[in-house]
């Protein structure tokens, strides 16, 4: 097969890789992208998008089920609902398919050549791709490694049979009667809550003393409360030990050191994700690493000249929008523009019920900087729109410097707060002070008013509390 020579080669068409390729194409850079699976990566195929589809289906089902119980304060009563998970999954798959072809179309429009197959480095400038029709050699002036990440497997609980990762959980044909979730992080809770809403008996096994340990306890309290309402059992300080011999239960060592058996039809292991650094010839190019991740500088350059790395393979936070921003920047760097990483905030959303949103520094992180800080917290219980949505649990919290009122971080927990991420991100990126947020008119009645009120609260003159 004839060799391909190009200016830029992107390995992996996840959110980081395809954005990089599209932007490079826009800038007239001769670009090739290699992907073994369908375009869109984890995010589009087995992550963000499908999980949100499933979570939405579960939410709708739970709402109706709640109404059928005759307890809805809205006065709606319906018959008991049923769920055809196969159909819901098919609907989800159709969304994924549309987005797959959308990404492929965008790449084509940007004149990016897509090569399907598994890429392996031969040297720093040359990659071999195993395609259906043979080995394709690609030479490039610049290479972007965007190989992403994969679920971590526990050695004593390997994937297979009843033990599943998030990928399989998004493609089940029926709701498991009893679901054990190993790992109470955001993926485990998002999916655990969804399955509980669809009728599964869910138990979360978490080794740490609390769930969602990366967030502060004040922020996660409404989520923990909701877990109890949904009947999700949470075993804290408990360690998963393996599968029972029959394969119908999870062996657990509880916090007080006792061994117990947790009967389960499916065991979902969500103990984190690891960078994909194997199978594509990293050993051929010998890059500097930081732990398991590829070391990069503020232009996403690796230790080898001409090789960039973006996204999950470069470290935390493993978020699609971080990878996209990196990809865009690298494309511009390759096109000869002066760019480097200068972002102030990468907002993060956790689609639990209620949703969690963080941007910038938590109160603890802000305190650790040494200066005095101000915190303003406004509860949704005092927000009209939240009340009319039956979403009074939660709050918006603003963290700012006491001396010049510069906003350092913003967090929120509550129904639908994920959409506030745009405002939070913009405020931090623009270098807003408390007065800037307080001085911006926020439309009434919206949950966003809570953001303005939190800033006012930090300034000492909140109006509605």
């Amino acid at each position: 097969m004839k060799e391909i020579s190009c200016k830029l080669l992107v390995i992996g068409a996840g959110p980081g890789g395809y954005v990089c390729a599209i932007r490079a194409g826009q800038l007239g850079v001769d670009t090739v992208i290699v992907e073994a699976g369908r375009p869109g990566g984890t995010c589009l195929n087995v992550g963000c998008i499908p999980s949100k589809a499933l979570i939405h289906a579960a939410e709708e089902f739970e709402k109706v089920a709640h109404m059928a119980g005759g307890k809805s304060p809205l006065g709606i009563s319906v018959g008991a609902p049923t769920l055809d998970l196969t159909k819901a999954v098919a609907w989800k798959d159709s969304i994924v398919s549309r987005l797959n072809s959308g990404v492929a179309g965008l790449l084509k429009k940007a004149k990016v050549k897509t090569v399907h197959g598994w890429a392996t480095f031969r040297d720093g400038k040359t990659v071999e791709v195993e395609t259906e029709t043979g080995t394709q050699v690609i030479r490039a002036e610049a290479v972007v490694i965007a190989t992403g990440s994969a679920p971590v497997e526990l050695p004593f609980l390997p994937f297979g049979g009843p033990v599943i990762s998030s990928t399989e959980a998004l493609a089940l044909s029926e709701v498991p009667k009893r679901l054990a979730v190993v790992g109470g992080g955001y993926i485990g809770l998002e999916l655990g809550i969804a399955f509980a809403k669809m009728g599964a008996e869910v138990t979360v096994v978490e080794a740490l003393p609390r769930v969602l340990a990366q967030y502060d306890a004040e922020l996660t309290r409404p989520v923990v409360k909701r877990l109890a309402e949904l009947g999700i059992e949470v075993m804290l300080g408990a360690k998963a030990k393996g599968l029972s011999t029959k394969g119908d239960a999870l062996l657990v060592e509880t916090a007080d050191g006792k061994n117990s058996k947790l009967a389960a039809d499916k065991i979902l292991v969500t103990v984190g994700r690891k960078p994909v650094t194997e199978g594509w010839g990293l050993e051929q190019i010998d890059l500097d690493m930081v732990g398991k991740f590829i070391r990069i500088d503020d232009q996403c350059r690796s230790s080898m000249r001409g090789i960039f790395a973006i996204g999950d393979v470069t470290g935390e936070p493993m978020l699609a929008h971080r990878a996209m921003a990196q990809g865009e920047m690298v494309a511009e760097v390759v096109a000869g523009q002066k760019r480097s990483w200068d972002k102030r905030a990468i907002p993060a959303v956790c689609f639990t019920d209620p949703e969690l949103l963080t941007a910038g520094l938590s109160p603890e992180e802000a305190k650790a900087l040494g200066g005095e800080i101000k915190i303003g917290l406004f509860p949704f219980a005092a927000n009209g729109r939240a009340m009319t949505k039956l979403g009074e649990d939660g709050f918006v919290r603003v963290v700012a410097r006491a001396d010049n009122h510069l906003v350092l971080g913003i967090q929120a927990v509550g129904q639908g707060v994920s959409e506030l991420s745009t405002a939070f991100g913009l405020a931090l990126e623009m270098g807003a002070r408390l007065e800037d947020i307080a001085g911006t008119i926020h439309a009434h009645p919206t949950q966003g008013e809570g953001f303005q009120e939190a800033a006012l609260k930090a300034l000492g003159h909140a109006l509605h509390i």
Partner: protein
């Protein structure tokens, strides 16, 4: 209890004023008789001022760097007994400072301009490093509400402004923000671009716009004045010649081998000094001081050779007096003694003045050629460059020889190029055939 005023004593013959270079005491200190209070510097020497009495320091009459007239009060002491002054007299009124002390109270923002470098205000800025008024950061302080950006903090600017800066090659850390909390606006960037150098920076290497004002005082000031005088008044002619010092080095090694208590170890300089003495015998016009204002050349009989020496505080020139009357070992001994005194700072004013011709040598750092600056009002200076083994063509082949250059400057107003060349050639002949140095 009474007060005792110490006036600046006469620190040298013909000296009318001296520069205060160091205070050893501060107000409130208790001092004993003979405690050193201060150091002042005259044309050449630094003199320590001891306390004549016991007492407590009440007042210091000058800032470091001030030029103080002989007889001016410099210290007031509280002493037991009557003292030497009536209590009601104001010592400040008696101060005869060359520069008005009023400047002390009002340090102006333009203190950093060269015109005011010598003012006491600038001296104060150096002693207690304060934010320089010229730095961009401080100009924003008045307009910022809340604390300004501290060192090492991320600059506060929107993504659009960061992009603008990136494309213009500006490091935003260098830009002062005029907005709230020090936020950088588009106007701030444009102002910075209009003001700053237009060269795009290579990222990673930070530009340093700091300016430190260092007051030129003491020896450094003397050197500066002297060099200005020499270079602005004397049209220099510099002549460089190479000397084959192989024979001289052999002789020197042989002489040094035979150790005798009365004979110090010889360096190359005593040979050069003796060679100069012999050359000056033929050309006495090289050993002279030129009073250009009076239009008189003082041609000296005695050859007083100044030896430029680097000391921890700067360049000084101890003088070997009457080299014509000293043999090679006496020259060496005197040289050693003076070098020691200059290094330890104990050389007297006498030992540091009165030269009629000068040698400058940087030893191993001597380089290939230099352009020595004449020690005004002398008319000649001999510069010694580094000795090194160089290949020399002897007519049939290259042979390794120990070679050394002499770079010598002359006052072209009174020394013609021809005379300069003859002088150096004579020294060359003497050094290349060192036996001639010992033949009278």
């Amino acid at each position: 209890m009474g007060e005792h005023i110490i006036k600046l004593p006469d620190v040298g013959e013909g000296v009318a004023e001296a520069e205060l270079v160091e205070w050893h005491v501060k107000v409130g200190d208790l001092v004993r008789e003979d405690t050193v209070l201060a150091a002042v510097m005259t044309d050449k020497a630094t003199v320590e001022i001891p306390s004549p009495v016991d007492g407590e320091i009440l007042w210091l009459g000058a800032e470091i760097g001030d030029t103080v007239a002989i007889g001016s009060p410099i210290v007031r002491l509280k002493v037991a007994g009557e003292g030497n002054v009536k209590p009601e007299s104001s010592p400040a009124a008696e101060t005869i400072k060359v520069e008005p002390p009023a400047k002390l109270a009002t340090p102006k923002p333009e203190a950093a301009t060269p015109a005011q470098k010598a003012s006491p205000a600038a001296g104060e800025a150096k002693a207690r490093p304060a934010p320089s008024p010229a730095s961009p950061k401080s100009t924003t302080r008045s307009t910022v509400s809340g604390a300004p950006r501290a060192e090492g903090e991320k600059p506060l600017a929107s993504p659009a402004i960061r992009l603008r800066a990136r494309e213009a090659g500006i490091d935003l850390r260098q830009v002062a923000g005029s907005g709230p909390a020090g936020r950088i606006s588009h106007e701030d960037i444009e102002a910075f671009l209009a003001r700053g150098p237009q060269v795009a920076r290579i990222s990673g290497l930070a530009r340093n716009d700091a300016v430190e004002d260092i007051k030129v005082i003491g020896l450094r000031r003397k050197i500066a004045e002297k060099m200005t005088l020499a270079k602005s008044r004397i049209p220099h002619i510099t002549y460089v010649e190479e000397i084959d010092v192989t024979a001289l080095e052999d002789l020197r090694a042989a002489l040094n081998k035979e150790k005798r208590a009365d004979r110090p170890k010889l360096t190359l300089l005593p040979f050069l000094m003796r060679a100069m003495v012999k050359s000056i015998a033929d050309q006495p016009n090289l050993n002279a001081l030129f009073d250009d204002e009076g239009g008189i050349i003082h041609q000296h009989g005695g050859v007083h050779i100044g030896i430029a020496a680097q000391t921890p505080s700067g360049l000084v020139v101890p003088v070997v007096k009457h080299a014509e009357a000293r043999d090679i070992w006496e020259c060496a001994a005197e040289l050693n003694r003076l070098a020691e005194a200059a290094k330890s700072g104990t050389a007297t004013r006498d030992e540091l003045s009165g030269s009629t011709i000068t040698i400058t040598s940087l030893g191993a750092m001597g380089g290939v050629a230099t352009t020595p600056v004449i020690n005004h009002p002398e008319v000649a200076i001999i510069g010694v460059n580094k000795m090194m083994v160089r290949p020399v063509w002897d007519g049939t082949q290259f042979i390794p020889r120990k070679m050394m250059n002499l770079s010598s400057s002359f006052d072209h107003r009174v020394i013609d190029g021809w005379d300069a060349a003859v002088f150096v050639q004579r020294i060359k002949t003497l050094l290349e055939t060192p036996a001639l140095i010992f033949v009278d």
